[in-house]
């Protein structure tokens, strides 16, 4: 079993969509929200994903295809 800590940033048109619920339902991934800030027109959620690495990667790809930005929790680490 693998774990990944990620940040989802939602564009306005996806704020009302149950993306995280679908991620857990459609893929064999446990989603565990730790911190979030969601308003009516924007939002981000920091969560842990747990499951087989392949299943997590498939799930994350699907989330990105929906239009959600997915970042690692440390932010951008590739520095100049």
């Amino acid at each position: 079993m693998a774990k990944q800590r990620v940040k989802f940033t939602f564009p306005p048109h996806l704020v009302q969509e149950p993306i995280i619920w679908r991620l857990g339902k459609n893929f064999n991934v446990v989603t565990n929200i730790r911190r979030a800030d969601v308003t009516e027109d924007r939002g981000w959620v920091i969560l842990e994903l747990e499951g087989d690495l392949e299943e997590i990667e498939k799930g994350v790809r699907w989330v990105e295809e929906q239009g959600v930005r997915v970042d690692p929790v440390p932010g951008d680490i590739l520095e100049g």
Binding site: K3, Q4, R5, T9, R34, R35, D37, R42, I46, E48, R69, D71, P72, V73, P74, G75, D76, I77, L78, E79, G80
Partner: protein, 416 residues
């Protein structure tokens, strides 16, 4: 013995032991080093600092390390009065903090020196980072000095010239095929999987503390005084927040009198998530795809962006984003007035300073410090086309004098 006593979550306030970890296990908030300030107050004095080495390690008591420093001579760089640049901008008390003169020619030596020391203390054998330039140079150099393996991840399309400054120290360079986002994601996953000291991931709380030394030095070099206004380049936002933290700590410890410096953030317009949020009067950072010549500031999703915004607002500072053309002009202006050749980040700072001065947002009497964080030889390609070509002559006096006369004529025409 260090005066550092815990890591504390910047979001929920939970405390953790001083270990190689970077996020709160509870809320995944970032961790920051805390110190025994009461103990420090009794122990530390201006004199103790002044008799220390002429490097960042004169502030060792204020850094979270116990072991022998991995020291290649980072820090205690010149704080130069800049009267000619000041005159050009209408500022009477302008100073340049010239961090170009660090051992690998950028301020990253400050943070990496602390990170490498801590890595050795934690018994890591590998020092790692992902970088396109300055950070890679510094990690490779400090690993060499410390006798650690260096592992440096770079994007596969990085120009050859950018690789030399790291490759010379003998690290393992890994070129990753993919976008910047791909490199970020891969490295954060690798850092979870392998027992490496990844300087800005699992060592980040310690690494970031190295930037405080810029704040300490400026105050000490001003005669133990906090300046009125600091103009700082912002990438992840860590440097910006730590300079401010350094100045606050000196005041808490009674080493300087507290006066709030205005902290202004300088970014390139092509990657300005912090300034963009500041202009919207929001704390919500919207990640951007970088598109600027200021590669050393090209962080589209800054880890400390939110905290940088808090510092700007708390201090009454400004956010300024400048174009690539302004950056080149800024590099040239600094070089032509003060004899300092900075990389693009320095051009961002000078251009931002010019903008603030032109708009009357800095008063003529303020003590202003512009932080120039890296040397220009690293980013020559940014300015090469904006420079005058050499005057070509025959090896005769007549040819020389004719060429000079023509040049003089051209100059007087362009000034008219």
């Amino acid at each position: 013995m260090s005066f550092a006593n815990t890591l504390r979550c910047r979001e929920c306030g939970r405390h953790y032991p001083l270990e190689p970890m970077y996020v709160c296990e509870f809320c995944f908030g970032p961790l920051e080093v805390m110190y025994d300030y009461e103990g420090l107050r009794k122990h530390l004095s201006r004199r103790r600092i002044e008799t220390g080495p002429l490097t960042i390690w004169r502030y060792r008591d204020l850094l979270p390390v116990d072991g022998e420093p991995v020291d290649i001579g980072a820090g205690f760089t010149p704080l130069l009065p800049a009267p000619r640049l000041g005159k050009a901008l209408g500022l009477k008390r302008l100073y340049i903090k010239n961090d170009c003169v660090n051992p690998t020619w950028s301020f990253k030596d400050r943070v990496v020196s602390v990170a490498a020391t801590k890595a050795r203390e934690f018994s890591f054998r590998t020092l790692a980072c992902a970088s396109t330039g300055n950070l890679a140079n510094s990690v490779a150099a400090h690993a060499a000095r410390a006798g650690l393996e260096a592992l440096v991840f770079i994007p596969a399309d990085l120009e050859q010239g950018k690789i030399v400054g790291s490759a010379i120290y003998g690290p393992t360079l890994v070129a990753v095929q993919g976008s910047y986002d791909d490199v970020n994601r891969l490295c954060s996953e690798l850092a979870e999987r392998y027992p490496w000291a990844f300087v800005n991931i699992n060592i980040r709380p310690y690494y970031a503390e190295g930037s405080k030394t810029l704040g300490y030095e400026v105050c000490e070099q001003l005669g133990w005084r906090i300046p009125d206004h600091c103009i700082v380049p912002v990438a992840s936002g860590s440097l910006f927040t730590k300079i401010y933290k350094g100045m606050k700590e000196l005041a808490w410890l009674g080493l300087v009198e507290w006066r709030r410096p205005r902290m202004s953030a300088a970014q390139a317009l092509g990657c300005s998530p912090v300034v963009e949020a500041w202009e919207r009067r929001s704390y919500d950072i919207r990640p951007q795809r970088p598109n600027t010549i200021a590669k050393s500031l090209a962080i589209g999703n800054p880890a400390d962006g939110y905290y940088a915004l808090r510092v700007i607002n708390e201090t009454g500072g400004y956010g300024v984003a400048v174009t690539d053309e302004e950056i080149i002009e800024g590099i040239k202006l600094l070089a032509e007035t003060e004899g300092i050749f900075s990389e693009t980040a320095g051009g961002v700072v000078v251009a931002s300073l010019k903008r603030l001065a032109t708009q009357g947002l800095i008063s003529r009497e303020e003590t202003v410090v512009a932080f120039i964080t890296g040397a220009g030889l690293k980013t020559q390609e940014a300015v090469v086309e904006a420079l005058a070509a050499p005057v070509l002559i025959e090896p005769t006096i007549a040819s020389f004098e004719e060429a000079m006369a023509q040049r003089q004529k051209a100059l007087s025409t362009s000034r008219r």
